[in-house]
């Protein structure tokens, strides 16, 4: 059954909440604006009582699956537990009710927190300086690429090309295009790694940088990273780290130690902040010392023992958004790091990788791993031997309370054509063994059902408000072909 719009519940003429101030009796808009500019036609906003509003949205929430509702193994999205204490603390008046244009010295708590969080993220990534401003991962990429461009501009090197593996997330090439770079795509070898020979062919002094996700969105660690870094640096180019999968490496190995010059992290993945049905996230960008002058303004620095925002930075890339960043989100990330500490972060990573490998091992007979090896924090399994399409298969999981994993066209990563039947499963570090076993059993149950009652699967889900929605898969895949080199 179709969900209702709040407008369906509106009763025209009801008006809405009582808004009044007896000391300011109402007057007509023509008091301030000429009659032909005053808005007279109805806007068409809903008109409900407060109870009707509460019931409407409470009702809508019942049809939404969150991490709070059940497992959410959506590959590359790291849908792990979002600790409630972090939400509670981010709501404190001292953050929520502070105005960004207050005199800087009345926001000392914000600067102190920001400076510490910058330091935590620098330590986590092995970088020297961090800006917390970017609004999300893609925005961190934009900041990073602008930094890259400014660095080369100041050196008088008009480099125009960014290299990107074909498994890269769509935001990588899209951000590069926004900065005016041309993208050249590096294919993936049959064993799932970036093709080094292809990289060598593309690499020259016109290349500004290589953007790499490590582990990749195929769930594999890029073992050749040292060589990749050397060759990129030999050409004077820079190595960019897309940190969406950093929860696989915390406390084990740091991008900075792997040779990366710039990184962004997705705090809404790695550092546990909730994704809110699509956002807001935050995408802090970290750089090695030689790139620090280019960070977006303001940069939070310690001056004479005090944390302060510094706007006066001649080489900065400028402003990428208003104010300082997603404070409310960053407070949550800060709380997370302080709760778990260095050992806790490392444990989270170990659990993430352990859980993914456990799932992979337990499902291997039904869904063989695409690459016959151990995975990192997520596994890429093939649905090619199933009796039903992987698309139908995962829809049936919904009936058992499990969010489908990432597939082509249904998730946030990009698969090259050859992995069309694959599913990327990231159980995340916060699923316990009983929860994993129950999830595994549900996968197996659906696979068994596929053999005997494929119809049940092809028409799934059966328990949701609406039946299966087929977005134009064929059109999607042909588009994908057109955009895959």
């Amino acid at each position: 059954m179709k969900t209702a719009s709040v407008l369906d519940r509106s009763r025209q003429g009801f008006g809405g909440a009582a808004v009044f101030d007896p000391e300011f009796p109402d007057v007509a808009g023509t008091e301030w604006f000429p009659a032909d500019e005053v808005r007279t036609a109805p806007i068409g906003l809903p008109e409900l009582s407060e109870l009707e509003v509460v019931r409407h949205f409470t009702g809508l929430s019942h049809g939404v699956h969150g991490v709070d509702s059940g497992p959410y193994p959506l590959g590359s999205c790291t849908m792990k537990y979002n600790p409630k204490r972090n939400d509670a603390l981010a709501r404190l008046d001292g953050f929520a009710r502070a105005h960004p244009r207050q005199p800087a010295d009345t926001l000392q708590g914000l600067w102190d927190l920001s400076l510490d969080l910058q330091r935590f993220i620098a330590e986590l990534t092995g970088m020297d300086a961090v800006s917390l401003q970017p609004a999300a991962g893609a925005h961190g990429e934009l900041a990073g690429l602008l930094i890259m461009r400014k660095y080369f501009a100041e050196r008088g090197e008009p480099r125009r090309i960014i290299l990107i593996p074909d498994s890269a997330h769509g935001t990588n090439p899209a951000s590069a295009a926004m900065v005016g770079y041309e993208c050249k795509i590096i294919p993936t070898t049959p064993d799932g790694l970036m093709d080094l020979a292809a990289m060598d062919r593309l690499l020259d002094r016109n290349v500004a940088g290589l953007m790499l996700t490590n582990p990749s969105t195929l769930g594999l660690f890029e073992e050749n990273i040292t060589r990749i870094g050397q060759r990129v640096h030999d050409q004077g180019a820079l190595l960019y780290y897309d940190g969406a999968n950093l929860n696989a490496l915390m406390g084990i190995v740091r991008p900075g130690d792997m040779g990366f010059d710039l990184v962004h992290i997705n705090v809404h993945k790695t550092l546990s902040t909730p994704h809110g049905g699509g956002g807001p996230g935050a995408g802090p960008v970290g750089v090695k010392a030689f790139l620090e002058p280019y960070l977006p303004v303001p940069v939070i620095r310690r001056v004479a023992g005090r944390a302060v925002p510094d706007h006066d930075r001649p080489s900065t890339i400028g402003k990428i958004k208003t104010h300082f960043g997603h404070t409310e989100v960053l407070v949550k990330a800060y709380c997370y790091v302080l709760t778990v500490g260095a050992l806790g972060l490392k444990t989270a990573t170990e659990n993430a990788v352990l859980n993914a490998n456990y799932l992979q091992a337990k499902l291997a007979d039904l869904l063989p791993p695409v690459f016959h090896e151990r995975c990192m924090h997520e596994c890429l399994l093939s649905g090619g031997t199933l009796k039903v399409s992987p698309f139908d298969f995962v829809k049936r999981l919904i009936d058992f309370g499990v969010h489908p994993p990432t597939l082509v066209g249904a998730g946030c990563v990009h698969f090259a054509k050859q992995y069309e039947a694959a599913m990327l499963i990231e159980p995340t570090e916060t699923e316990s063994l009983p929860s994993l076993d129950s999830m595994i059993e549900k996968f197996r149950k659906v696979a068994r059902e596929a053999a005997v009652a494929p119809y049940m699967i092809e028409t799934a889900p059966h328990t949701t408000a609406v039946a299966k929605i087929i977005k134009d898969q064929a059109a999607y895949i042909s588009l994908l072909e057109a955009t895959t080199p």
Partner: protein
């Protein structure tokens, strides 16, 4: 779970780990990371503070929070794109429901109909507010909305040039510069009339006559707080084949005709005022709306109607060919994660205050701001700096140094506004003052008295003045 330091959110018992390793066929956790070259690995624990218990964390973070002043500890007249409006309790309550809060982008529409409905209503309601039928389901903030919309206009018209009113809030203009620079778009300034503060039609006419432009980008209220008349500007743009691209403050739109009604082709706004806390600057909420024919140029997610397998109506993310996960470097934008939960807040906000409440709120903002403005302008030497109409924010010229007036006000726990010299050095004794519905008459009167004291203490500027 062991009691070891740093257990954090650990979920496994030692025996669970052993069982799992055995299932994988490994002897130790370390072997899981065998592919990572040893010489790259961190040989120590990261240098981070020791973990805190929940009560220690609570105390620590509360101490940080209370080291910030707020609009509760001080009477605030601050604006400049972020406003201290009331947020009904209903909004935060609904927005903290775990189903909404802890879900991802609705990639699986069957298990996200509720969120999709909210986002679809967001598009509908913001479209109505802005007077243009096709809205996206959010971008990062008002400034990136303005910048993305400028690029949209360039793509629609296939012209890499935009005319930009020089009265756009400077921080937003800086974001626009950053975004346009990479795309190779040049920015051509359109001047404002120095007395009224309004965009000067002659200047627009001249800029558009010189070279074809994709669009005029204009903001209302502008950096002086002056409300632009969009209709005549849109007419000039139309005559020159340029689009009219308006960034506006949504609270104004309960009172003044929408950009769409006034002829705009693209409208954007910072919707922080629709049920979002000030949050010390973010997260906020950008949105872009446009005409039907330009919908495929919008950046970001769009929720639309579709049929399910039974032919029943449902909702899903649609028109994805515009987006980065499909079109990659040809996408209209790179945006992926957006501000969905903030969009939800805006929908709950608009539903709670309703048509009547929203319109009344708009008038109340104007009413209170004009009350304060009149009272302040009755103080000796204080005057409105621009003659154009304003809504709830206005620029005053003072007889004394703005910074020292602000300092005296602060001693009385008042944030008296924004020192305009920080935005434009030509305005050496000017203050930008914003008032919302939340200021009571008593507070406004107290503020006037405090201004009188502050002005008498401030060093005076000479009578010849340096009025810009």
């Amino acid at each position: 779970m062991s009691e070891s330091i740093g257990a954090g959110y650990d979920v496994h018992r030692p025996e669970d780990r052993e069982l799992m390793l055995e299932a994988i066929g490994l002897a130790s956790i370390d072997e899981l990371f065998a592919k990572i070259p040893r010489d790259l690995r961190l040989q120590r624990l990261m240098d981070l503070p020791p973990p805190l218990s929940e009560w220690e964390l609570d105390r620590h973070v509360r101490a940080l929070a209370s080291a910030n002043a707020t609009t509760l500890t001080h009477l605030s007249l601050l604006g400049g794109g972020a406003y201290d409006h009331h947020v009904p309790a209903v909004v935060s309550d609904i927005a903290s429901r775990g189903e909404f809060l802890t879900s991802y982008t609705p990639y699986q529409p069957e298990m996200s109909q509720g969120m999709l409905r909210v986002l679809h209503d967001f598009q509908l309601l913001l479209g109505r507010l802005l007077g243009l039928p096709r809205a996206n389901s959010s971008v990062y903030d008002g400034a990136t909305a303005l910048a993305e919309a400028a690029w949209m206009a360039c793509s629609i018209r296939q012209v890499p040039r935009i005319a930009v009113a020089e009265t756009i809030w400077p921080e937003w203009r800086a974001v626009l510069d950053t975004y346009m620079d990479g795309r190779g778009v040049t920015i051509h300034p359109v001047a404002a009339d120095p007395d009224s503060g309004l965009v000067a039609p002659e200047s627009l006419e001249r800029t558009l006559a010189r070279t074809p432009m994709a669009a005029l980008v204009v903001q209302t209220p502008n950096m002086f707080g002056v409300v632009e008349s969009i209709r005549p500007l849109a007419a000039i743009c139309k005559a020159h084949g340029a689009l009219t691209n308006v960034s506006c403050y949504p609270m104004l739109l309960g009172l003044v005709q929408s950009p769409g009604e006034q002829g705009a082709d693209i409208a954007t706004c910072e919707a922080q005022s629709l049920g979002l806390w000030l949050n010390a600057g973010g997260p906020y909420l950008g949105v872009i709306a446009t005409r039907d024919e330009y919908e495929l140029f919008l950046p970001g997610r769009i929720v639309g109607e579709c049929d399910d397998l039974k032919g029943e109506p449902a909702l899903a993310l649609v028109k994805e060919q515009r987006e980065q996960h499909v079109s990659r470097d040809k996408a209209t934008s790179h945006i992926c994660s957006n501000q969905a939960l903030m969009a939800l807040r805006a929908v709950v906000y608009l539903s709670t205050v309703g048509e009547g409440g929203f319109r009344r709120l708009s008038r109340l903002n104007a009413q209170k701001a004009h009350y304060l403005c009149d009272r302040l302008c009755s103080l000796p030497g204080v005057a409105l700096a621009k003659s154009g109409r304003f809504f709830n924010e206005f620029l005053l010229s003072l007889p004394g140094d703005a910074a020292s007036v602000l300092r005296s006000l602060r001693d009385e726990r008042i944030f008296g506004g924004i020192d305009f010299a920080g935005l434009d050095p030509r305005y050496r004794h000017h203050l930008l003052v914003a008032v919302t519905e939340t200021r009571s008459k008593g507070e406004l009167d107290r503020i006037v008295a405090a201004f009188a004291r502050a002005l008498s203490a401030a060093p005076r500027v000479d009578a010849g003045g340096d009025r810009a």
